[in-house]
Symmetry: C2
Subunit: 563 residues, 2 copies
């Protein structure tokens, strides 16, 4: 199979390989929408393309269509998108995927990666602004996040997964000559080694950040020769449907079977998830979503790569500039209304207060200042819209309400949530954060992910207890990210050891405009796999190396070397 | 931590890296016992060391000893070895292992690998002939196999695992500087990445070939920073106990905690296996043994690497030299009385016979000639002893008897088993093979591993059916190796595709003195992980990449680069 597409994208791929090796800052794409070539026209085309999708069928020419379903509602307008997607007979999808695999598997690794690099390129060049609108009106992200986090950075993570797949595949030589003596005889064998895909992968995507995990998961499976059935969250389908369309088009144009990528959509009333995971042909499951279903997936799937949730922790021991720290924390706890698996939720601090150059600041005052900093984010509607954006699901508003009641009973409400008025979309579903002060006796309140703009200030006996509580909660209940403010290098070293063991990725003493939970492709590992918040990491070798196996064949070769 | 031991073994390690890349024939050790330096004296010392172990306690200075157990009986002499090993309190072993991990994990990867290369070297230089005797008198292997397969090649597989562990660890840069703009601010972060071990690994070894899987499994876990509790089969303890002793001595001498390697022994009456696997501190389980327990391990272990069993298949479609093929098959079916997970068991051939240059040879005649070739191996006692060696367990003799009865009822006994007289050990437990002719209607007879010298000739409708039956049996019931004789290149290509999908490592048209199931370290992948015969492969990146995870820490760095 031709490597022409790989050659077309070789320079970008090799640059990505370097970035993965060195883990410095790099992106294949402009950081900001305004930096895209011919940005205004491209954005207008994207908006038009998105609008053209609304209120009609989204045709996917895939096998086994049984009817049409779709239940997406824009968090910004409150209106249904009105898009109907094919409801698929899953037997037909698995059969078609399985039929497509052998020829795809026999295509060389570099040829497969070339096709996938082309898909990445077309997703960006042809669809990034259409995807931006699709993500906004399904997930509720801000325009900037929908471009950067769900667009450019998600596609960078896709390329990153291709780099690691390539590395794992390249570790297997395709052929060898082996020769040694047995007694007085010389035996020479010609050996061939082939990468054999596992089979059909099922990729679950989540409602609030569909593309960011789904693109790299799909890439990891496809690059290693598998087929993928995408199973989007029924509330957030359009970004994945556009992706499926692009993958199928690029595969077909390159002479491959488009059924290597199909979509199985369900409804919230009749979920398909367990049937897909338990299907005898489901060889791999990638899952992003709830901890409960994720844990079921880990126990039931033949092979699973999961990223679920946990309680992301912050330890405030001491700070050089406490207000700067609290501003960064506040912004990050507000970012996309904390509907990110990396959003900090629990802030642990010593009852005796936080040391600063100006003396110790009492715990109550720290709580009050954090509440004020969070409150400030929601004051100015334009800034609120950029940072808080919208709430994806009505269920999140219910949870905020319940947590406010619980918080008042079992702690103190430092900041009450309220809807803010979105300047562009007056009907947007919004909420500023709830912040509750409590302590470890009320641990069941905060020792799990409370999805949405819900934060807890946890008063601990002292700094050592704060760190122990935080690391213990992560180890037992899961956690992806962790944040620390401390001026004490030995405390920092202890926190690095503790969080490494607990398995949360740690950010220390960061202030300024970078969101604390910003995770950069090629540089930041996402999820460790060491605690209940997931078993996989984006992207390490383990994320790709098990998606294929090695089969060998050997036979006698001429005993004398030709050369 | 010092890399001095790594430097000492660097040349050997780098040579092994090259062999893994190119997969040519190489060994770090002499192929034959006679080639070892000062061979005769070394063998005499090994024999003396072995004899000194007999009839006494095997002291291991590990925590939590509760008493003394041991039930090994030599398959060659029929006498108990009389060795009593510490019976350990498994809580004490897990606790000690867990305590040893943090410092071992913080030791650099190359320093760890240096210590492990030293252990390999001492196992060979100081113990290979002692291990040879230990393997003979626990597993029943011949002297040559105990030296080569259980000695040199097993230690080569250990080095091979270290090479892949090094590759996976080296893919993670220890530190990076990351810098980009957010708005008008420049953010510079110093990032560190550390490999975090999973925790305590439990390594089960089997009765007939303990070292071959155990050394590489232990290496894979230890090199990635984990501790290992070895759980030997109660019938075959001594080789592993010697190994545990050497690992502990080398670790201690290098300044590490010897409790990184301990041994948990049980008895056949009171097995410990499930308690070890279900232990909350058991993070990794390596298992070699029965398919039934292996499947339970896969479902219950936090993370498992298994190699169990299946029905290894032979397809006889046509042959250039049928007698040479049948001789090779016969020898391989006799080798160590087929007590190897790679031994061929089922020979599928077309009912119409096998094509040869001299015309088609009828199926009955092929069966008869195979029986004759097998029978010839057992005729001459010295040759029989070298090839068939001894039967490890009395249960195998029972199974041979039951299979003979079943075979007579549901097929035709082509060759009846008999004890042969071992020239050196007159009381050796021996049996020449049973060979039964049958057909796919009696599939339940041969569609599982019938452990020991038991073979089946399966008459199929035609060559296509023979291949389909064989590949189907492998896919559904497991299979590690496969063997094919064919002069038809298109049939060979179909077999390569079919077996690659089914997941058996295929050897084609091999005749001559090399055992057909010989698997060379650095060159042959052992087990694919694609069928029920195991989920792991010795050794690919997937065998090591999941044994550690990556935790990162990042904090502000000076914004301007120093250089």
């Amino acid at each position: 199979m031709s490597d022409a597409l790989f050659d077309k994208h070789r320079a970008r791929f090799e640059r990505a390989q370097q970035a993965c090796r060195e883990r410095h800052a790099w992106s294949a794409f402009p950081e900001l929408p305004s930096q895209v070539a011919d940005a205004e026209a491209a954005q207008a085309r994207g908006l038009a393309a998105f609008r053209a999708r609304l209120g009609r069928r989204f045709e996917i020419d895939q096998p086994g269509s049984l009817g049409w379903i779709g239940e997406e509602v824009s968090p910004y307008t409150g209106e249904p998108l009105g898009i109907a997607y094919p409801q698929a007979d899953i037997e037909a999808l698995f059969d078609a995927a399985e039929r497509a695999i052998p020829r795809w598997a026999e295509t060389g690794a570099r040829a497969r990666i070339g096709v996938l690099m082309e898909a990445v390129d077309q997703l960006f060049t042809g669809h990034v602004f259409e995807l931006q609108q699709a993500v906004m009106h399904s997930a509720g992200q801000s325009a900037n996040m929908a471009y950067a986090g769900s667009g450019a950075n998600a596609l960078d993570r896709a390329i990153e997964a291709l780099v690691y797949a390539d590395q794992a595949l390249a570790a297997v030589t395709p052929a060898a000559r082996w020769e040694r003596s047995f007694g007085s005889s010389r035996i020479a064998l010609a050996k061939t080694y082939r990468a054999v895909p596992r089979g059909v992968a099922v990729c679950f995507s989540c409602a609030t950040f569909a593309t960011w995990n789904a693109w790299p998961s799909m890439m990891a499976s496809l690059a290693t020769g598998n087929a993928v059935i995408v199973k989007p969250h029924p509330g957030s389908v359009l970004p994945m449907a556009i992706g499926v369309e692009v993958f199928r088009r690029v595969l077909g144009a390159a002479g491959h079977d488009p059924n290597l990528v199909t979509m199985a959509l369900d409804s919230s009333a009749e979920p398909l998830g367990k049937r897909l995971v338990n299907h005898p042909k489901a060889a791999i499951v990638d899952f992003t979503g709830s901890a409960a279903f994720g844990s079921w997936v880990e126990q039931n799937a033949a092979l699973s790569y999961t990223e679920t949730s946990g309680c992301n922790t912050v330890v405030l021991e001491s700070a050089e500039d406490l207000d700067a720290a609290l501003r960064s924390l506040a912004t990050t706890m507000c970012l996309f209304s904390a509907q990110m698996c990396t959003s900090p939720q629990n802030v642990y601090l010593p009852r005796g207060g936080v040391a600063t150059p100006g003396g110790r600041v009492g715990a109550d005052e720290v709580g009050a200042r954090l509440a004020a900093a969070i409150s400030a984010v929601g004051q100015e509607p334009r800034r609120a819209a950029m940072i808080l954006a919208a709430i994806q699901s009505p269920a999140t508003l219910d949870l905020i309400g319940r947590m406010q009641d619980e918080g008042a009973l079992r702690g103190r409400v430092l900041l009450a949530p309220r809807a803010y008025g979105h300047p562009q979309f007056p009907k947007a579903r919004t909420s500023t954060p709830l912040l509750v002060q409590t302590d470890p006796r009320q641990g069941d309140l905060y020792r799990e992910e409370r999805f949405g703009p819900i934060g807890f200030v946890v008063e601990c006996a002292d700094a050592g207890d704060a760190l122990a509580q935080a690391c213990g909660d992560v180890a037992r209940h899961g956690g992806l990210t962790a944040f620390l403010y401390s001026r004490d290098e030995s405390f920092i070293a202890a926190a690095e050891r503790g969080y490494a063991r607990a398995g949360a990725q740690l950010t220390i003493n960061l202030t300024g405009p970078m969101p604390l939970n910003f995770a950069a492709a090629y540089s930041d590992y996402h999820v460790t796999g060491l605690n209940p918040a997931g078993n996989a990491s984006l992207t390490d070798l383990a994320f790709v190396a098990g998606r294929f196996r090695i089969a060998q064949s050997r036979r006698p070769a001429a005993a004398a070397r030709a050369n």
